[in-house]
Subunit: 339 residues, 2 copies
């Protein structure tokens, strides 16, 4: 009733265990007749290899981990899907681990320091390499530095930390945010509120891009902290540019709703917008090319694992996939500021 091992098959077939090992894995250095017989027997008595033993002996798990904060957003699903697909292409299996303390993990635990647990486990021989989407707004260099020191191949996806030397795959954020700003102006914005900036390198790049474009267009703008004082100077039609609907636009909206609703509004965000543009007339969305990003990240990781030479630069920027514009279906009869 115990599990079937190579040994059992070897005894039944009257061959050596190493022959069985080869036959099972389809190694061609074994006579077709013996191979067939062995495979048949193996199938019949329900042999399944012990992955632990196989990986320990082979020194590789053919497994990579994708570690990300959560699966809340649609982009997360896209990252996961494409990464997993790409891993399979190279005959690797992708595991997903979530590290958001508000959420739970594939390696779940209710301690607040869940992230450490996952990373620790990752370097304990359970995986060959790691693709990480780091936490926004927190500096993980210490933790991740340890991974690097343990020689566990590591690639950043989307967001990243400056101090490490591992490859980074991210969006061409400067250009994307600039285009977002330009489109807002083209849609009639008389002033811009830039919510980007400060959180992390990605957010900072977006701020730079948006600011440059706005300055070039000669349109008045301000950052969030200046809104109470400078909102009036932005004119009747205000575009609000932020990284995401849920984490930047909506909080901003609830905080400043009283003043904002006297203006015509345009929102500019990354990734996606759920539901109607309301209270804006229009939403402009910069859709990141998650599929391509994930594929590239996985490819780089596997190259690292297999010690293939990487001819590309460390920082790889993928252009945004497309810009979507959505106009309100329902016209809301709101007064427009005329000051």
């Amino acid at each position: 009733m115990a599990r079937v091992r190579l040994n059992d098959i070897a005894r039944i077939c009257g061959v050596d265990i190493s022959t069985v090992s080869r036959a099972i894995r389809g190694d061609n250095r074994v006579k077709p007749a013996t191979r067939d017989k062995i495979q048949q027997i193996a199938e019949k008595i329900g042999y399944l290899p012990n992955l632990l033993a196989r990986n320990l002996a082979g020194g590789t798990t053919r497994t990579i981990w994708l570690i990300l904060p959560s699966l809340d957003a649609n982009v997360d699903h896209r990252f996961v899907r494409s990464a997993s697909h790409q891993a399979n292409e190279s005959d690797y299996t992708l595991f997903v681990a979530l590290h958001d303390s508000d959420s739970f993990g594939a390696l779940a635990s209710n301690t607040s320091e869940h992230y450490e647990l996952i990373l620790e486990r990752a370097v304990q021989g359970t995986t060959d390499g790691v693709v990480i989407i780091p936490r926004r707004g927190r500096d993980d260099s210490k933790l991740l530095g340890q991974i690097e020191r343990m020689n566990l191949p590591l690639v950043f996806l989307d967001n990243y930390t400056e101090s490490l030397q591992c490859p980074i795959v991210t969006t061409e954020n400067v250009d994307a945010a600039a285009e977002l700003a330009r489109r807002a102006v083209a849609s009639g914005a008389t002033g811009i509120v830039i919510l980007f900036g400060g959180l992390n390198p990605v957010d900072e790049a977006r701020r730079a891009g948006a600011q440059r474009a706005v300055e070039e267009a000669g349109v008045p703008f301000c950052f969030e902290r200046d809104v109470p004082r400078q909102l009036r100077s932005l004119g009747p039609s205000v575009a609000v540019l932020g990284s995401s609907q849920s984490s930047s636009i909506l909080p901003f909206l609830t905080k400043h709703s009283a003043k904002l609703l006297r203006h015509r509004l345009i929102f500019g965000v990354f990734d996606d917008w759920i539901g109607e543009p309301s209270p804006a007339d229009k939403v402009i969305v910069a859709v990141q090319d998650c599929d391509r990003m994930a594929r590239e990240a996985v490819d780089r990781l596997i190259a690292l694992i297999e010690r293939r030479k990487q001819r590309n630069r460390r920082l790889r920027k993928i252009p945004v996939r497309e810009f979507r514009e959505q106009t309100a279906m329902v016209a809301y009869g709101r007064p427009v500021a005329t000051d």
Copy 2:
């Protein structure tokens, strides 16, 4: 630059590798002085145990898997959270694997037969046991039977397959559905549409419970297939009882909206209702006790793994945690059928 092994520490400390092994794990059969010294060195040179080797030698991974279709619904998150917590209580780590082909997996793959892959991997020595929430409406007995034959401890959670002998933790569905029906009648329903039934044991239990309660109340009712003919006989106020908002109520609604909207509506569902009751006046929700279910399932699994005697019955039914009733905030001026 290679990874530190027990061997390295042994050489440095001038003791045997087995002593190091004991010291690292806090075994008390080692002199405190030696233990401290060893642990100090280990810490210093960054030793981390190789989990593969440890598990192979120990014959256990202290790991269990929770395999479920997806994380779409809120209940899924609750299951995961509580299961993970309970696993940690017993010093196990919980891994989550998703097997819905429309979704992706923790063990991700884009083949349609993802589920097999996950289950296959599970029996390959990577985990000590499995809690499974099976797919609705599909018979997995063949696949899962194989798991049972491989002697991998297995517990069903929520939904289940009759043919296997493993423990099942589910909701007291008969009673819950009956109470749902009773509350619908108490809320003024003159007739009931029962959407439960046919999909799986859970759904079937709910059908039985709802039907019994409705018959006892002497209120006319019908199943989905009879709606076109019998809707009129249900009177002006119709309660629609189904397992979930997204997978039973909404499809039903879109299919029969023309006729339905001439009635006053009440919805009865399990788990949760998102948004307004509209187009119903009222929604009654039977909230399953996911936390308790998950905890109990994990406990049973661990007992199975550790071969503790199970004194409980095979089928464990947890009562619903609570019933919520939500009335429409906005009164929709819809005509009510009077025939």
